[in-house]
């Protein structure tokens, strides 16, 4: 089969020629002034680091050497990473961390938004309290929970002991089996309010008429939710889940402050691992190669992210 270039446009010969891109750019040159400041800042802080990281990932920086004395090693850093055991452990941790934090935070936030949708006395106060964990500093949050998880004086363990559920004060974050779930609890504590705010905002846009129509049609509360509210919130839900997933994938402070990735890498996720490789062990080249791999993952996630964020962009008639 032969496809002729420009075939589709051929029948519309009476149409005026499209102005060239350069001409369009020239005629709208003033518009660029508005975005210029944003672009300049972005370029400095994105384009250069991206270039630098890719470049560095092909070099080795043996300990004791300065960064400027790097040695070209080709793809050795990449092969080293992919064949290391730690890489796969950290990757598994990252997946568990990201998926569990995102889904549980989303479900809790969603449910809280629904429960808060109905008016009752004290609703505004309750809503404000539930949002606070999202606002306070992650460093503060990490210290609060680290103190509550403390192996000797942590209140959570003490409560368990007092209730007779365990004989000895459990050690939540110095235990390879419990550390990751314990940190996920902290992370969800910080993040469910975001999902809650987003869904609350979305709930305000559910058309009251539809809900009434469903009521007249005999739908139960659950059916009204499932057939009207839930589909109406699908757009905002997608955006929320993506934003949460990105934030979790990129999170650093909670694991870093509470455990520093330990014990024996049990709470290391990609970001903390890269940070430790670079700033702890001075293995800049390996860290850069890690970053490039991360890039690739993030970029493919980013494709869906951008589509979800701008997918409903209106095709308004421009000025």
């Amino acid at each position: 089969m032969t496809i002729h270039a420009g075939h589709a446009g051929a029948p519309r010969k009476a149409l005026p020629p499209r102005p060239s891109v350069l001409r369009q750019m020239w005629t709208s040159r003033a518009d660029y002034l508005y975005v210029l400041p944003a672009i300049v800042v972005m370029l400095i802080v994105i384009a250069y680091p991206v270039y630098y990281t890719i470049d560095l990932s092909f070099f080795k920086t043996p300990p004791g050497l300065q960064l400027k004395d790097k040695i070209f090693v080709g793809v050795e850093n990449y092969t080293a990473i992919l064949s290391s055991e730690v890489f796969w452990k950290v990757t598994l941790n990252t997946i568990i961390w990201t998926v569990a934090s995102t889904l549980i935070a989303f479900v809790l936030g969603y449910a809280a938004a629904l429960a808060l949708h109905r008016d009752f006395a004290g609703r505004a106060v309750l809503r404000a309290i539930l949002i606070i964990p999202w606002v306070i500093s992650a460093v503060a949050a990490s210290y609060i929970w680290k103190w509550m998880y403390h192996s000797d004086f942590g209140i959570i363990g003490q409560v368990l002991v007092q209730l007779g559920l365990t004989d000895r004060q459990p050690n939540f974050i110095d235990n390879v089996h419990t550390v990751l779930p314990s940190l996920i609890v902290v992370n969800i504590w910080r993040e469910f309010p975001f999902a809650m705010i987003m869904i609350m905002a979305g709930l305000q846009t559910v058309p009251e008429q539809l809900l009434r129509a469903a009521k007249v049609d005999g739908a139960s509360a659950w059916q009204r939710f499932w057939h009207v509210t839930f589909p109406h919130l699908s757009g905002v839900s997608t955006v929320t889940i993506l934003l949460l997933a990105v934030a979790n994938f990129n999170s650093f402070i909670v694991p870093w402050i509470t455990t520093g990735g330990g014990p024996s890498n049990a709470s290391h996720i990609w970001i903390t691992h890269i940070y430790e490789l670079a700033f702890g062990r001075q293995r800049w080249g390996v860290a850069a190669a890690y970053s490039v791999l991360l890039f690739i993952i993030v970029m493919s996630l980013g494709y869906f992210y951008v589509r979800a964020l701008s997918g409903n962009e209106k095709k308004e008639e421009g000025p």
């Binding site: 149409l15 005026p16 000025p319």
Partner: protein, 365 residues
């Protein structure tokens, strides 16, 4: 006040024509309605005159100036928008004062002009309110007021009544008409409601598909639509159009239908049909020119009643004829039932004949 001339106006979006070769002259003090279905190019044309979108080619003259490249603010125009476009954060007074402030008029003068305009439109008591505290009709008046304070050369109005309820719309229609008469203002008025155009305008420009179809007084457009589009768009209920075949036997021209009946034509109408490009002819008739008989009459054609809609003073009947639906108006005393067979008689002097191929009205050659 001034004259507005559009000459060969073209606006394209990529490869789509929003307005194509639109030429018309709005005389000083004239009220011209741009009318057509949505997407016909009427709002685009108005925005071109306003300068809100750049023209692709052609010329716009306001007064004696070509304004093609002027900013909206320099064209000496005022505009009333469909949603009124009142500034929600400003009071009515500030809304009215804004165009004058932009022209750097002294404060005392602004105050006088705003008060005068408010008095004309009877909104003096609303001056300290915010737009959201006003009813639809009041917002409409404020929007008119904001146009009025400027004393512009031309008023542009973009469907200003379409957001009002039916009763208020009729009332505002006459107010805008008074407004035009009192100020002797030049007004270009966009509407999709042909009734607004017919009742208010001195002239109407009927548009479709980016093209100007007909530009004439409402009476002329109503009496002599140039093509099937204009015929079916102007008038309510719409003109009925019946596709038929022309046949000439022994020098007598008739229209025949697929249902088998034959409608002989008068000599004048026969001459029109002779000018057609093919045998396909479309017969057009307005509801009030069709006579309905309960039994066969010479020259009448058989049809079946579809619906009967009494409105009080007129009863509208819809009937099937040769695959088309016809509107007929009857006195309220008429007794017709759905599915009844009736015979329709056309007034040869008042029927419209269209070329079935070109859709243009046929004129005697």
């Amino acid at each position: 006040m001034a004259q507005v001339v559009l000459k060969d106006l073209v606006k394209t979006y990529g490869s789509i024509y929003a307005a194509k070769d639109v030429s018309l002259t709005v005389n000083d003090g004239e009220f011209v309605a741009l009318v057509g279905p949505s997407g016909c190019g009427k709002t685009t044309t108005l925005n071109l005159v306003a300068g809100l979108i750049p023209i692709t080619s052609g010329d716009i003259t306001i007064g004696n100036r070509i304004v093609n490249d002027l900013d909206p603010k320099d064209r000496d125009i005022a505009m009333v928008f469909q949603n009124y476009a009142l500034y929600p954060n400003k009071t009515v007074f500030q809304n009215l004062a804004f165009p004058l402030q932009m022209r750097k008029l002294p404060k005392s003068e602004i105050e006088t002009k705003v008060k005068d305009a408010a008095k004309v439109l009877d909104i003096t008591h609303l001056l300290e309110r915010k737009p959201r505290e006003l009813s639809g009709g009041q917002q409409q008046r404020v929007a008119l007021g904001r146009a009025l304070v400027r004393d512009p050369a031309v008023f542009l109005m973009d469907e200003p009544l379409s957001n009002l309820d039916a009763k208020l719309r009729v009332q505002m229609r006459s107010e805008i008409k008074r407004f035009h008469q009192d100020l002797n203002a030049t007004i270009i008025y966009v509407t999709h409601d042909q009734l607004e155009a017919v009742t208010m305008a001195d002239k109407m420009a009927v548009m479709n598909g980016g093209l100007l179809q007909q530009y004439d007084t409402p009476a002329n457009v109503f009496a002599n639509p140039v093509n099937m589009f204009v015929a079916s768009f102007i008038g309510s209920p719409a003109m009925s159009l019946v596709p038929l075949q022309a046949t000439t036997v022994d020098g007598r021209t008739s229209l025949t239908s697929s249902e088998g009946w034959v409608l002989p034509l008068s000599d004048a109408n026969a001459r029109k049909v002779a000018a057609a490009s093919s045998h396909k002819i479309v017969l057009g008739a307005r509801h009030s020119t069709i006579k309905l008989h309960k039994s066969a009459v010479d020259g009448a054609v058989p049809a079946r009643v579809y619906t009967v809609e009494p409105t009080g003073d007129i009863t509208f009947v819809q009937a099937f004829l040769a695959g088309a639906i016809l509107n007929i108006s009857l006195p309220p005393t008429a007794q017709v039932a759905p599915d009844e067979m009736v015979w329709l008689e056309f007034d040869q002097d008042r029927i419209h004949l269209f070329d079935g191929e070109t859709e243009m009205a046929l004129r005697a050659s």
